[in-house]
Assembly symmetry: D2
Homo-oligomer: 297 residues x 4
């Protein structure tokens, strides 16, 4: 078992840290929210007064932060962790941030001889709690092998996407595709219903045909078709529209920087943005179904 | 076993009829192509000099024709089959046509007491040959139950989508969604590759994550990633861009008529149309990958 | 001055007929609405009990009808006008309908030796009342020259777009472009305002720069920027979203039939459709501005 | 007349500096290209060995640089101009860069008491040579009044868009709208031609109707319709596809940052990107017409 510092105990980080405790790791946590820290301490974690203190004695530092500038602040600069931790520490950043930011931190780590990996996750709050997250990692193969047993304490599928930054790239490619297929599925269901079809019947047909996809399998966007899906509880909880928009923003920034054409992803981003602007930012992202077909129809 | 008339022996109809023979049915065929007829006769079918003659003694008539106006010509009007066949004949139209055309023929059939179903298929030439097609049926439950054993001679999944026309509706919804997820998958792969990722690794990650869909499962659009997929044989064979465009045209016409918004499907239609206009109409539709990322890059 | 039969006295047809009277023509009118007929009779028109009676003695028949099937009903078939009017009658259809319907009627007319032109209009109810409509004509040059003086009684710009159907084609091309530039202008204004710019200042800059277009010149979509524009009266009156959607539907049907790619027009159609679905179908089409930027922001 | 330092003598900056000389100003220039410097020196400018030397004695510094990081390098940091020039110098940056970069430089300038304005231009190389550029300025009203006479030496329309950064915002809004209307116009023309219409006739009709826009007025994208337009010289020269893509990238980055929906602009960006990827990046941007309708058709 490892001595781990866990920084960032939000909706995702909290349950992830909790699962590391359950897996038997020795955990020191840090977060600006005292409540979040207390929950973990109650479960057996130590708390630290600062990021630096939390990381001081850790074999492995894991960060789960909202955006790229938080990650830069924690790791880079005069007060950054990379300046204080020993070169034997392994650093895993599970935040979803721009690949170039991940590469920037990685380069600074490599300069100091520190093994760094970007390890963003897929699977949402549900997966974080159940310990069934998917980790998509970018970094050296040795670091990947070393990190894998730790990540397995929080997730089920642990992928090695490629070198530094590749984890972030694969994450934003996947989530862009997810936005496309969720919009597309909602659109196809709305078209069918406007033609008088039963959404459950149409869902079943497409699921078993060439339209089959993750949304139809486990996350049907039409209310009532799939028990347990956010659509069947008024789109509460799940993966918020605002978070999907954040990821789509990262994907589009990346596409512009790489002169890549992403017409379908761009359109999906604009549909989700319009949906958010109409007051739906804190609903589950499968609520894009409502954008296509509203109850009042 | 049934006495069946099969009209339309093209790339799809030919192997479908062939499978009915293998299933032990008594088959009379008609097609304008003598070669197509001869192939089936060699396999044990009878040939007829006209559509009317083929259908005269049949318990069940199956048509597999290129477009709606062919279907109207065969069934409606003074010389149409509905005017000559007995009311006990069951009529199955497996052509992909507009739902309103299917309903028009169905109404004419109902007036004469003839059981009619629209039974379009999914699965392409490969599925037609292997007898693994998906049939998506619209019509009365009784007709569906009666048709099912016959359709099972040509396909694996036999769905009842709803009343007359519902088979066509579900087919075009499914194929619109297919066009969306094939474009989206191609786009995500191209974005990853522009970032230096390995398309096979990225495919595997997305397939097992929330980006998972039929294209990643069985029809990967990136050359070399999936043995046996059209992408790995220069996009030869498979489901042609031109045929996908035909189905997308039906979907958009339907959306306009029903005042349904289909932004993702419309964009996909335009991407496939641009791809066709650049000389790729007779390639497999997964060649849309090339539209995003060309060899010369 | 000519003896004219005018069929269809709706929001557009009524004031058009009225202007023909003012221009001194001898007018017989027909409409299913008695109120509409009475208004014209009060202004000096004769009324007729049927389309046939109205057209019987006319040198020129003008129709202004809601959709293609009305036009087919009036002109074609056993009771259609083309079967009863003398071959010396000139026929002008100002309805906005599919080019192929216009060509179908034109062919039937040509067979009987009757000069027919499709003469759809641009300019809305305001232009109809003011007599400043634009007429976009398809047909023979001789017919165009003969029709021009009559059309000048109702409009300002009279264009000859080409052979039969070309008037309808040019109309739907123009209106598709109009939908694109109105969406685009609204989008650019919303982006500027989100950045803190004054919409009036930004409008002025773009109007005089390379973003200049008809919307910025005479139909600014931002409330309060342009006095007299529908945007400055809560988007009441003007050219309704539902009518724009009808024209965009004609454009997309035409594009599908001609295998033309119209990605921008398709997207505009879907934005206007979503806008209509959210309850805005009877607002002026410049209300698409609200779709981008809502008051509550 | 003013003593001016002009930094950046590229395709745009060169002729702009030249026009300042003609207007009688005292000019010191700097560029990494010796050829570019020599041309201006031959016309009467002084040359300087560094940016700092050029600016030392200037009342006004004007920069025309390719991208935001060049602008940051020239002005900010220990060696940046803002650290060395007197607070009485007026600084005008005519580069097209992100509004937040412009604001960042402006804030640094304001701290030192230096008047700074973002003054991006519209009008292309042609406008730069002819001295008919449009300047779109962001900054204090006093600075605007002081800069105006100098800018009038290079341009015709000088707009004050608002506070710092507003010039850049208005520029990217305008160019996004330009991309939309150029795509839309090309699309409408292609649709008309596919229907058999004459592109010149259709252009004229739309220009005088509600489809009227800058492209139809002065920059028709169809070859041969407008003498002197890039379309009539194989799309050579003009405003390159790659430069339009740069501006569209700035617009989309801005939209993502401001959570603004820009579906039409996003689609236009992707069409231009696909067009560039197919080898057309160095053609004039009106060559998007070819993307819709190729000669081989």
């Amino acid at each position: 078992m490892a001595t781990i510092a866990f920084i960032g105990l939000g909706n995702m980080g909290g349950p992830m840290a909790s699962n590391l405790l359950k897996a038997g790791h020795d955990l020191t946590v840090f977060d600006l929210s005292e409540d979040a820290v207390r929950t973990l301490v109650d479960e057996g974690a130590k708390s630290a007064a600062s990021v630096q203190e939390a990381a001081a004695a850790a074999e492995c530092v894991i960060t789960m932060l909202p955006a790229g500038h938080h990650v830069e602040t924690v790791y880079l600069g005069d007060n950054g962790l990379l300046a204080s931790i020993p070169s034997t520490t392994m650093v895993l950043d599970s935040s979803t941030i721009a690949p170039e930011t991940a590469r920037k931190v990685a380069e600074a780590a490599v300069e100091k001889g520190i093994a760094f990996m970007d390890t963003p996750v897929s699977g949402g709050v549900g997966g974080a709690k159940a310990g069934t997250l998917t980790f998509i990692c970018g970094g050296e193969p040795e670091a990947f092998e070393k990190a894998k047993p730790i990540l397995e304490g929080m997730g089920k599928n642990i992928f090695h996407a490629g070198p530094h930054g590749a984890g972030q790239v694969a994450k934003i490619c996947n989530n862009m595709l997810l936005a496309i297929l969720m919009s597309g599925t909602s659109e196809a269901l709305a078209l069918g219903v406007k033609n008088g079809l039963d959404p459950a019947v149409l869902s079943e047909i497409m699921k078993q045909s060439s339209g089959g996809n993750w949304a139809l399998n486990v996350y049907n966007p039409w209310p009532g078709v799939m028990e347990g899906a956010p659509a069947s509880r008024d789109y509460q909880g799940g993966f918020l529209v605002n978070l999907m928009n954040k990821d789509l923003g990262l994907a589009l920034d990346n596409a512009v920087k790489n002169q890549a054409a992403v017409p379908m992803g761009s359109l999906a981003r604009n549909l989700f943005q319009l949906h958010a602007s109409q007051g739906n930012g804190t609903l589950d992202f499968s609520s894009i179904q409502r954008f296509y077909y509203q109850d009042k129809h």
